[in-house]
């Protein structure tokens, strides 16, 4: 039991956070709870503190919408929060799509797709291009372009406000990640993930690799949804500083050799 907790502690915590947040939002809509109202695009905490998706706010700006102070404050709070803690903490600790893509990835590993198709036929920098494209299209079309197709919004709205055909979007992502591209949505396409990766470039919570303890079992690279950020495994002791790291903690918990741990970013560069 103890080792189960050790091996899944972050996963369990993440699912708890994700589900609790969705439950609070759901209760906000259905039972009138005040804790968290709205959804991940914009919400209010206890009816006082505004929170807003900064990427949506940015698209609104490009679409030529009037921007209210409420929105700016909300977007700033979110930006600072994730900017400090780790941009893509949103992806692995909050975003409900993460549960879908993790499930697809889990199946891929179990079925052994990853052994058959080792090299992925797409670039992970695609998401930054899509992020740019979202802004360009928002400007051209005069609407928040990504918000009208975002499967993330579709999913959390489906959970909070009712499903509609929202299940189709979820299924598409699941199948895409399962059969077409490993970590396809979250790791290659999602512009929101790209946006948070950009915000969190200098964030403070970072995974630290201690090469001396490493036995090169490569379990961490196998579970990591952004395995390219773990390039230093068994090579050098350093922190995972790539913004694409989602701080999901899977690598930390699968490591049996205490070679990976959460740490605070070293601000001054150490000399070797």
């Amino acid at each position: 039991m103890k080792s189960f907790w050790k091996h899944y502690r972050f996963l369990i915590l993440r699912r708890t956070v994700q589900i609790t947040l969705m439950l609070l939002y759901f209760g906000g809509n259905v039972w009138g709870w005040k804790m968290l109202q709205g959804n991940l695009s914009s919400s209010s905490v206890l009816g006082i503190i505004p929170l807003s998706d900064p990427f949506a706010a940015l698209q609104m700006f490009f679409a030529g919408a009037m921007i209210t102070t409420n929105l700016i404050v909300g977007a700033l709070i979110i930006t600072i929060f994730y900017g400090l803690l780790g941009g893509r903490i949103f992806c692995s600790w909050v975003c409900p799509v993460n549960i879908i893509t993790d499930a697809a990835n889990y199946l891929r590993r179990k079925v052994g797709f990853n052994q058959i198709q080792k090299k992925q036929p797409a670039s992970r920098s695609l998401r930054y291009w899509i992020m740019g494209l979202s802004l360009v299209l928002s400007y051209i079309l005069g609407v928040t372009a990504f918000e009208f197709i975002s499967p993330i919004s579709m999913t959390h709205r489906a959970i909070i406000f009712g499903l509609g055909l929202g299940w189709a979007a979820m299924l598409v992502i699941f199948l895409f990640d399962l059969f077409i591209l490993k970590n396809g949505w979250c790791g290659h396409l999602c512009p929101l993930g790209g946006f948070y990766a950009t915000i969190g470039k200098k964030s403070l919570i970072r995974v630290d690799h201690n090469e001396e303890n490493c036995t090169a079992c490569m379990k961490c690279k196998e579970v990591c949804p952004e395995s390219q950020v773990l390039f230093m495994i068994n090579k050098s002791s350093e922190q995972v500083l790539d913004g694409a790291c989602t701080n999901c903690g899977r690598c930390v918990e699968v490591c049996d050799d205490d070679a990976l741990n959460f740490s605070i970013r070293k601000l001054a560069k150490e000399k070797k």
């Binding site: 609104m60 929105l71 579709m154 009712g162």
Partner: protein
Amino acid sequence: MVSERRKFILGSVRSAGLLALGGLVWSAYVDEVTASKLILRPPGAIKEKDFLATCIKCGMCVEACPYDTLVLAKPGENKPLGTPYFEPRNIPCYMCTDIPCVPVCPTGALDEKSVSTDGKLDINKSRMGVAVVDTKNCIAFWGIQCDACYRACPLLDEAISLQYDKNSRTGKHAFLKPIVDSDICTGCGLCEHACVTKEAAIKVFPREVVLGKVGDFYVKGWDKKDQQRLKNAKEIKTKTRLSEKKALDNLNSFNLEDF
């Protein structure tokens, strides 16, 4: 041999092509879903075009609505995804005097000022749409007595009034015809909800879909205030080229054999 330069050029062109393809499909889709004009927005909603740019789709208006009137457009409903709307035949807007849906809007897509008089919320100022009567299928226009919409209207005798006309078919009855005053109608849809016919004979549509626009060339000559609008009317110069020939020549040039 394939040089690095060639690979790079091919790679760049391929990415650019992919991006252009994705962008085109993407914008075509967004253009398509945002083109739907027949959608009724919550009270205080700004112009549809601005609304689509400003609404962040958080659903706080939906949560604030005590009657579950407002819903967010779900995938498959062919409406701008995630934006709030209502269908009065299902649940109309009950015109809460404290308008809970408007002040909660974080982005100003629902504008408090547009539904306020002297700084106080005033739901009667909302313009969600306008009711239109189908005079062929409204049974009151047949001469059957029905005033369901008239009675349901929260601005009774203002937004909908009854026009009494003689029923010449019977010679001794009156038509009580419901007439909508589009200046006063808020588009709440209580009339559409109350209508007794199988498919409502009075329906609410977005104002810009239904209402015409006179322009500045027609004014009410008996109304001094309305005449002021003439000032805005800019002269339109139409040029008709005159024939250089004299009229007589024109007649004389006919070749009679042509007729």
